[in-house]
């Protein structure tokens, strides 16, 4: 992509026809070398046009070669001027062509910064940015921005002509894999997208996602780049989600809801979610705590995420740091019967390059706490799906979704448990327990990754790593916080170490690890041995 600060690359024009200045053809270039450009004045419509360049009135061209030479001279003079200092110009008019369906104001909203340019250099830079923004709307097959001279009676002005070609085929589909932070597992998703149905740059999509841990989600979403003058795009998503936790915690979760993305920028994200959630137990084997949680709940929550990710790669970080903090406040309706809770989680990752074999040390800590609020909150239990569960097959080095997993521990494989219902018919497992998760969770990891000394592996990006991690969850609600002590929490930290091979592919990052469980407790589902973990970047 072009560096907007540079003077554009100049190459001799290969077309004999004079063309207006086209920002799409600008190449990457450093410095002001005084190279030549194929920018030429557009003088086809008007004669005596001296426009931007303040050149002498051009006589009617007598031959193509003469026109070409004259244009080249003008360009050189312009670039000389641009080298010495800003060439003052302002935008007189922005002309939009080619949009049959898309509303003008959608395109104009993206071009606002053109109105503030004061020089040629700024205009070139702004044109590049506008080009990128329009392409990012995903509703155009191509975007071409042309700089033309303004009306002859207004010297020092330019017109910007934006030609767009709307997508010929608005329907597109894709299949993708990614790791959902909130859901804590990897999913495969198939989606259909319909672009620009109403001409507001609206993107509609329907998707069906299947998660590794037996969850299915059917959802439909809408993305609006400009909604009633709001600064950032608005997204809305209606979903039907079903998650099966019968094997781990003896309940199934069904949710039907709507989530609205209210504000989204590079570092901040605010979303509102309203959902009807039902927990059921078709197996009728749940433990006492889970039985009490079964039923319907109205979830109305606001979620704020602050994210800084300065790592050089989400799949194999070798340098940089990342910090994510997520705050979720539930119970935002006046109705005190909706679910009221406050959930806070954070992740910190730091990668230090070691300088040999592309080795790097990755450190990470993650923590989270959830608490109900309202009358008598200290004796109320927290809602089961909002609690923290540790364990699973996601790579903890890459995942930034709060404390979610430890190498070697199975899904929901550690933490407080409660015995399941016992039935005297001989077939039920007498030692069956439900994993209840915790209100406070903490994990820490250290990972040393390095290339293998074989060329084939290096070419494919396959590398090795040695790792260690520790983590724990604890219950704080229902007055358990009175019995909580940091010393006890640290003493009951589970930990594991291991070594493995990392295989990054186009779809996901796969780790084949040998994990040795250093410390676990009675009911924890963890085993020393070979395990596979995955991570797919969202």
């Amino acid at each position: 992509m072009s560096n907007p600060d540079s003077v554009p690359d100049l190459t001799p024009p290969d077309s004999e026809r004079q063309k207006p200045f086209d920002t799409n053809e600008i190449d990457d270039e450093d410095g002001n070398d005084g190279d030549e450009n194929d920018v030429e004045d557009d003088d086809e419509d008007e004669d005596g046009n001296d426009g931007v360049f303040r050149g002498p009135n051009r006589p009617k061209p007598q031959s193509r070669e003469a026109r070409f030479r004259s244009g080249k001279l003008k360009m050189e003079s312009l670039l000389q001027r641009m080298k010495t200092g800003p060439v003052s110009v302002r935008v007189h008019d922005v002309i939009i062509k080619g949009n049959t369906k898309t509303k003008d104001h959608i395109i104009e909203a993206e071009t606002e910064l053109l109105n503030n340019v004061g020089s040629m250099q700024e205009l070139l830079k702004a044109s590049q940015i506008v080009n990128l923004r329009l392409q990012a709307l995903e509703i155009f097959d191509s975007v071409k921005i042309t700089l033309d001279s303004g009306p002859p009676e207004l010297p020092g002005t330019a017109n910007v002509i934006i030609e767009v070609v709307e997508t010929a085929n608005p329907l597109s589909g894709q299949i993708a894999a990614f790791t959902k932070a909130e859901a804590r597992y990897s999913t495969v998703e198939g989606s259909l997208k319909y672009k620009n149905l109403f001409g507001y740059g609206d993107l509609w999509d329907g998707s069906l996602a299947y998660g590794y841990d037996h969850s299915t989600e059917l959802s439909a979403g809408l993305y609006l780049p400009r909604f009633k003058g709001l600064v950032t795009p608005v997204t809305a998503r209606a979903y039907l989600l079903s998650q099966d936790w019968l094997k781990f915690s003896s309940y199934k979760e069904q949710s039907m809801g709507l989530s609205l993305g209210l504000f989204s920028s590079e570092h901040h994200d605010v979303a509102y979610n309203i959902a009807w959630r039902t927990l059921t137990d078709p197996s009728q084997m749940a433990s006492r705590f889970v039985r009490r949680q079964l039923g319907h709940n109205l979830l109305s929550s606001l979620k704020y995420t602050f994210k800084v990710d300065r790592r050089n790669s989400p799949m194999r970080p070798t340098r940089g740091y990342a910090f994510v903090s997520t705050t979720q406040l539930g119970g935002l309706v006046p109705d005190n019967r909706s679910l009221r809770f406050l959930r806070q989680e954070f992740d910190l990752r730091y990668a230090v390059p070691l300088g040999f074999y592309r080795a790097a040390l990755n450190f990470g800590v993650s923590g989270g706490v959830v608490f109900p609020w309202g009358n008598g909150f200290s004796s109320k239990p927290s809602s089961l799906p909002e609690r923290f569960f540790l364990g699973g097959n996601i790579s903890p080095v890459c995942a930034l979704g709060g404390p979610t997993t430890l190498w070697g521990f199975k899904t929901r494989g550690l933490g407080p448990t409660e015995p399941r219902r016992h039935v005297n018919d001989g077939t039920a497992d007498p030692s069956g327990v439900d994993f209840l998760g915790g209100d406070l969770a903490f994990t820490a990891l250290a990972d040393l990754s390095f290339d293998l000394p074989f060329r084939w592996f290096r070419e494919k990006g396959i590398h090795a790593h040695v790792f260690a991690c520790a983590g724990n969850v604890a219950k704080l609600t229902e007055n358990e916080y009175r019995n909580f002590s940091v010393q006890k929490f640290v003493e009951s930290l589970r930990s594991s170490v291991g070594v493995g091979l990392v295989v990054p592919t186009s779809f996901f990052r796969m780790e084949l690890n040998y994990c040795y469980i250093v410390k676990k407790f009675d009911h924890d589902r963890a085993k020393t041995g070979v395990r596979l973990t995955f991570f797919a970047a969202p």
């Binding site: 590079e266 570092h267 009807w276 059921t280 137990d281 078709p282 197996s283 009728q284 084997m285 433990s287 006492r288 039985r291 009490r292 079964l294 039923g295 319907h296 709940n297 109205l298 994210k307 800084v308 990710d309 300065r310 790592r311 050089n312 790669s313 989400p314 799949m315 194999r316 070798t318 340098r319 940089g320 309706v333 109705d335 019967r337 909706s338 592309r358 015995p419 399941r420 219902r421 016992h422 039935v423 005297n424 018919d425 077939t427 039920a428 007498p430 070419e459 494919k460 990006g461 295989v503 990054p504 592919t505 186009s506 779809f507 996901f508 796969m510 596979l532 970047a537």
Partner: protein, 328 residues
């Protein structure tokens, strides 16, 4: 079994819907069980689940890891009998009238109550009994779902609505008459000793008298039988209002040595799937292995496509210097 035996004795807890209308629980399915335990002088703790009104598992009793759900083996009372915990009916099974009375209460009166709560009256009583702790949008949807389900169960359509209503009320009236005659001036229906039918009938009568609106047709039919009303109020005073809390000073643990037989599915609720215990170990292992096999195949195929087809994965970015650009 050893697990429960070794554990110290735990009190029996009854889980029902919330109290309302001056009753410890106003749900016509839950109140009979409460009264049954009271009649048997069996100490228990009362606990509530107010967010799952459409569950057919409620009411249930629990003690340690023992649970008896409403939708298993004919109901909680049958479960308690079967498991040897509480049995008030051991001598009444052979009484000729027993089966007829039981059939009348469990079908005609139960249907009449269901109809009156959800269709006959304006539904306000039902909403207070079941939905007082749920948010408005959920209440609306659950209510409509329940009304539809009740109409399906009772076979009510637009065409036969009036006839079905007349039939339901007529049967209720017959049942009231028969039970009133059976009761006479006694304290209980059979032999002046409490039975599960007393519990069920008392539950029905108390909910009809206290929870249904005064305009209710069913309620007015019941009020014609003074002896039934007196019988209900007398027991209400004795069992419900006199004891301040339902947990007694001593607790009894649930005997763990009995082996409950699997009986027919519950008569009053929709048949739900039995707990998934029927699969043999071999089948489960086979399915698990098949899943792992398929997953392994998929992973190998994806790896092959990615690695052999040329790798342009994100690793290439690692060679670039840090441009200070943030990654999403």
């Amino acid at each position: 079994m050893a697990q429960v035996g070794e554990r110290e004795s735990e009190e029996l807890t009854l889980v029902t819907t919330k109290p309302y209308f001056d009753l410890p629980t106003a749900c016509p399915l839950c109140l009979p069980l409460f009264i049954y335990l009271k009649l048997a002088h069996f100490p228990f703790r009362l606990s509530f689940n107010s967010i799952f009104p459409d569950s057919d598992q409620i009411p249930y009793v629990e003690s340690g890891t023992y649970v008896a759900y409403n939708n298993e083996n004919g109901g909680v009372i049958e479960n308690l009998k079967r498991d040897g915990i509480v049995d008030l009916d051991s001598e009444f099974q052979s009484v000729p009238d027993w089966v007829a009375m039981k059939a009348m209460i469990s079908s005609w009166l139960a249907d009449a109550m269901m109809y009156e709560l959800w269709v006959g009256s304006d539904g306000k009583s039902a909403c207070k009994i079941y939905y007082s702790d749920l948010s408005w949008p959920i209440v609306k949807v659950l209510f409509l779902k329940q009304v539809y389900s009740v109409k399906q169960h009772l076979g009510i359509t637009k065409d036969n609505a009036e006839q079905r209503e007349d039939e339901i009320y007529k049967r209720a009236k017959i049942a009231y008459g028969a039970l009133s005659t059976r009761l006479g001036d006694q304290d209980f229906l059979f032999d002046d000793r409490p039975s599960s039918l007393d519990a069920t009938f008392l539950g029905h009568v108390l909910v009809t008298l206290h929870a249904l609106p005064e305009t209710s047709v069913l309620r007015s039919k019941l009020l014609e039988h003074g002896n039934v009303v007196r019988y209900a109020e007398k027991h209400k005073t004795k069992l419900i209002e006199s004891s301040s809390s339902s947990s007694g000073p001593q607790f009894r643990s649930v005997p763990s040595s009995s082996t409950p037989k699997r009986g027919p599915s519950n008569w009053s609720s929709k048949p739900k799937s039995q707990p998934k215990r029927e699969k043999t170990e071999g089948e489960k292992t086979f399915k698990r292995r098949a899943r792992y096999f398929l997953a392994a195949q998929l992973v190998v195929v994806l790896l092959f496509l990615s690695l052999m087809g040329g790798n342009d994965a994100g690793d290439m970015e690692l060679d670039d210097e840090d441009e200070g650009n943030a990654f999403d």
